[in-house]
Amino acid sequence: MKLNFKFFTIKRHLRDKLANSWMLICLSFVIIMPLVIGIGLIYKSGPLLRENSLSSLLFSSDWRPMSGHFGLLTFIVSSVWVTVLALLIAGPICLLSSIHLTQYAQPYVLKIMHPVIDILAGIPSVIYGVWGILLIVPFVSHDLAPFFGMQSSGYCLLSGAIVLAIMIIPFILNILIEVFKTIPNELSEASLSLGATKWQTIKFVLVKKAFPGIISAFGLGISRAFGETIAVLMVTGNVTKIPTGAFQSGYPLPALIANNYGEMLSIPLYDSALMLSALVLFVIVLIFNGLSRIFIMRVEKNT
């Protein structure tokens, strides 16, 4: 009996240790992955960087792989355009709807909205792309561009931004709803009991309290928008020329990689150039995440 008992204790302890180490392995896998990807990208873009300076690659728009010119500026500018426009469209929509849903709407509206948001988030991006070609591209080309007195094929940055905005809305909205929900009711009560109106309470107290959360939601939206590939690729036109307006075609970084990797790799340094653009994408998203995190920490310390 006693022996038996001891045997089981040993087994239990062993299992405990084993479970612990397995979890540790899984965890380190998660931690190491981004590091490995980053190092891999740096290593692969090395050959190009040995022959050209980084700044000459980043700030040149001369993209002629056949003659060995790999200026990435066009793609970076296109990516920034699409992302900023998408956030300008999605940001206000998300902020206002999250305020309405959490402050004004009946509880059942939120219950209906949750599955709607989840469906939006779950639609594969290629479907958004097709939908963009069928609906947004003609809309921009026939209605929106003439309205602003412009001409556009419709395959342009704005179409990409509209599609992208709709794709990032569910992500931003979900976080914003959570952010507003976690603000204690007592804070609104305090403001209301001082004779503030509901709108004053929202404007001066709730939005202020939610500010770090709003920034982090937008930051996540930007990260997603920046890296989104297929839907954007399908509607932005993919023309290697620096865009100067929303109605012009562009060629965002992810689209460049997706369109070209695996093809024409016989051109010298071509794959190295694509790896460098992947690295740029990686670093920009990283910097953005980092900045919004630092910002959140500073704001939280000050309120």
Partner: protein, 253 residues
């Protein structure tokens, strides 16, 4: 005959969903006195307090019926703007909820939104209310700091000063000392006794000793009903209801 009560609650019934939270509540709250609403947790004390401020409006699942008169006005069936009614009452909640802004702006907020303050007088008003809450000496050199940097006890006094800043007639306090250490609690309690000269104080608590220390009037509640109400002397020395006696003896279950 004594003065007319400041607040009269008549046949107040509150349902939250299917639950009957307050059952036919009738209470009188006299002017310039500390009235303590006493009772075990979950008996509806807080709900009663919040209905006086119409904060029950915030929760769509809460259904209110009956009358609450403040002075002559029935605030549940009034044409007066609800923000005007709320301005007449300062609220102090269980835990301090400072607004997400500086110490100075926490007090200035109420003054500013009512829109009847000049820039010049703002500073002196803020100082005045911080002094009233015995907080000025501790914060006078860091008014620009965020209010969340204060200790909990200081925050609660800040909330008291904030409540006073809109010149209310009534102070509603919902277990305001439950998160505080004994010294801060003591400051708040003493403050209430000072304040009753100019304000009508309604205090919700489940702490018997606190009620004994500061109550002029006591309303004893249990399970959504008012069991007994009267002056502190009547309730503490000579309770009529069996349940009140049990609660006072501490043998309540």
């Amino acid at each position: 005959m004594e003065e007319k009560p400041k607040i009269r609650v008549r046949d107040l019934n509150i349902h939250i969903g299917k639950q009957h939270i307050l059952k036919n509540v009738n209470v009188d709250i006299p002017q310039n006195k500390v009235t303590v609403i006493l009772g075990p947790s979950g008996c509806g004390k807080t709900t009663l307090l919040k209905s006086m401020n119409r904060l029950t409006d915030l929760y769509p699942e809460v259904k209110v019926s009956g009358n609450i008169f403040i002075g002559e006005e029935d605030i549940l069936h009034t044409t007066t703007n609800i923000t005007e009614i709320r301005k007449r009452m300062g609220l102090l909640s269980q835990r301090p909820y400072p607004l997400p802004m500086s110490i100075f702006n926490n007090i200035a907020y109420g003054l500013r939104i009512s829109g009847r303050i000049q820039k010049k007088t703002l500073n002196t008003r803020v100082e005045h209310y911080l002094r009233q809450a015995n907080l000025w000496d501790e914060v006078c050199d860091r008014l620009k700091d965020p209010a969340s940097a204060l200790s909990i006890g200081q925050q609660q006094r800040l909330c008291l000063a904030r409540g006073l800043s809109v010149d209310p007639e009534i102070i509603l306090a919902d277990e305001p000392t439950s998160a505080l250490d004994p010294i801060s609690s003591d400051v708040i309690e003493k403050k209430f006794i000072d304040l009753k000269e100019n304000y009508t104080v309604v205090l919700v608590t489940h702490i018997l000793r606190q009620a004994r220390r500061i109550a002029d009037n006591v309303i004893f509640m249990y399970m959504g009903e008012v069991i007994e109400q009267g002056t502190a002397e009547e309730i503490f020395e000579n309770p009529k209801e069996e349940r009140t006696k049990q609660y006072l003896r501490g043998t309540f279950n």
